[in-house]
Symmetry: C2
Subunit: 366 residues, 2 copies
Amino acid sequence: MNDYQIEINLSSAKKQKPAFDSLEFGKNFTDHMFIMDYTQGRGWHDPRIIPYQPLKLDPSAMVFHYGQSVFEGLKAYLTKDQEVLMFRPYMNMERLNKSNTRLCIPAIDEELAVQALKKLISVDREWVPNVPGTSLYIRPFIISTEPYLGVASSKQFQFIIIMSPVGAYYKEGINPVKIAVQNEYVRAVKGGTGNAKTGGNYASSLKAQEVAEETGYSQVLWLDGKENKYVEEVGSMNIFFKINGEIVTPELNGSILEGVTRNSVIELIKHWNIPLSERRVSIDEIYEAHKRGELEEAFGTGTAAVISPIGEFFWNGEKLCINNGETGQVSKKLYDTLTGIQRGEIDDHFGWIVKVDEETPVISAI
Amino acid sequence: MNDYQIEINLSSAKKQKPAFDSLEFGKNFTDHMFIMDYTQGRGWHDPRIIPYQPLKLDPSAMVFHYGQSVFEGLKAYLTKDQEVLMFRPYMNMERLNKSNTRLCIPAIDEELAVQALKKLISVDREWVPNVPGTSLYIRPFIISTEPYLGVASSKQFQFIIIMSPVGAYYKEGINPVKIAVQNEYVRAVKGGTGNAKTGGNYASSLKAQEVAEETGYSQVLWLDGKENKYVEEVGSMNIFFKINGEIVTPELNGSILEGVTRNSVIELIKHWNIPLSERRVSIDEIYEAHKRGELEEAFGTGTAAVISPIGEFFWNGEKLCINNGETGQVSKKLYDTLTGIQRGEIDDHFGWIVKVDEETPVISAI
Ligand SMILES: Cc1ncc(COP(=O)(O)O)c(C=O)c1O
Ligand SMILES: Cc1ncc(COP(=O)(O)O)c(C=O)c1O
């Protein structure tokens, strides 16, 4: 392992921690953050851990105007033995770099990023919550900071990591969610930025999300932007169906995000020898399967919710109820297995877990 | 006119101004800025003019992650008589509110915004450059500032106006630019955010822009996202063609921006009784017209460049040279008329000009 020179500047005061048994998602942040700068000509430099603090940016900083930014989301878990485990952090950093390529942002060193994560979590170790169902949500992100008005790639960036102890993402927990199929608005299209994790994709999704919520649906199912016909993904989850015994999920087509959870689910399904296909899935096919009584399960996959069973689709004025609105067997097994591996309670055959605690020396310099 | 209570807090020191005869676009900012806050439940509040200064935002502020932001761009000009004129500011504020609707951002008071502009320009009047071809570029923008990680609409926003004295946007000035037609990447699609002025549209355009520049083209011409067939717009300009005596421009279809300059050009063309049609225009039609020798002119329209003649298209490996790479008659006439009206040298029959100088009292409070 390279010894990356990450300077650590500890906070002189600790914040009051929220009650870990009633955490809201994404509202509380730990005592420290990681930050690193990019300057054209110099590359990425000065990786450092500093007290959690506001960013000071010129009002002309490009991120405010032209949205050149990317982000990631992953989690760390406390085991019964008080070890802290991260789930597939290298895959997130690899995806961050894929997003970077699409958004013209200079690549980061993936190994440095994972080392930075380890150090940051070690420093804020007391923030990894110890209550069942909770975890430490980690948000790496990159923003364009050059003070310049003009549509061009920024010459300055900041790579930042912040962390938040979290409970369940959906109020419903592992209970099935209700999802509205979106016919009017489009999230992404082939040739666009759908397979990158960048702010604009989420900004454009808010309107449909708002409409869905007003009618009692917690999420939106997106269809493709060209034909408004093929199933893509849910707000912040990939989607899977169980149709007549086979697991089906939309193939990676350039406009959906390659989820880490999606990838892990596919590996598990294959490992269990359940038939699986990654292919185009039209909404009509789902509708027909439901009419024939063959749509046995549907679930979303994502870091925040892990597995989120879907109890109902709303499409074209019709409600499609799935598995009596109850959690299906495969959904349940996937949830139990994934969360088991993540918490170190089930053996990790796949090499997914990265431990935080190879004693990382903390060099303080306040 | 309403008397909006805009508090003014003047800067104690003035910045050194750049030389007005060698201004670069979007690099220098005036001494002051306008800012106003939105808080859910309270609405927009505390409109104020303050010294130009960095924004302090929590690293979890939503704009850094989910791109919920919108912006505008317009200009003010100094006349020979030392008057300061704005070009169609109400249309920009109306468009800002249209963008707000699409991005789930609460509407601003358009009249307040124009009054804020007047006051801000009055305060920084010395920054309106007095050299031919220069102007004061004005950038109103709104960002989501709530410190929260989760895909939802922000409950806090800031509306900010900054200003920058500028020269020509393209190095080429009024000389024709060379434009590459984009086949692979997509900027916007029907149902997306193409007709809103929001960061994500520009972020997604950077990659194609980079490729175009590497091959010697200064801008990209976008085709529609569904069929990759119909002409949409250029990087930050709408596009017009003159085909066999008729002016043709893509109709407003939901995925292109409704340019203020586009609208003004259409009014002028109609006023001059030149045949005009707003309709779908395929890239094949343009290609065929060029082959037949009927593509007489092409030009882009936008606040930054006003009218930008197009001297060459690159499409499918072929170079289409237009009007011998020279500025066409209609392009020239439009440029002269528009810039003449903007600078108060040609009578404004259309009611486009708004004067800054109905004495706005400056209440200083340092
Ligand atoms: C649009 C979108 N799709 C899918 C996912 C699921 O990806 P992952 O499993 O890596 O969290 C996410 C969340 O990260 C997302 O934002
Ligand atoms: C994508 C896009 N199209 C067109 C335009 C031209 O609009 P306007 O004439 O209002 O400047 C702009 C610039 O504002 C733009 O960013």
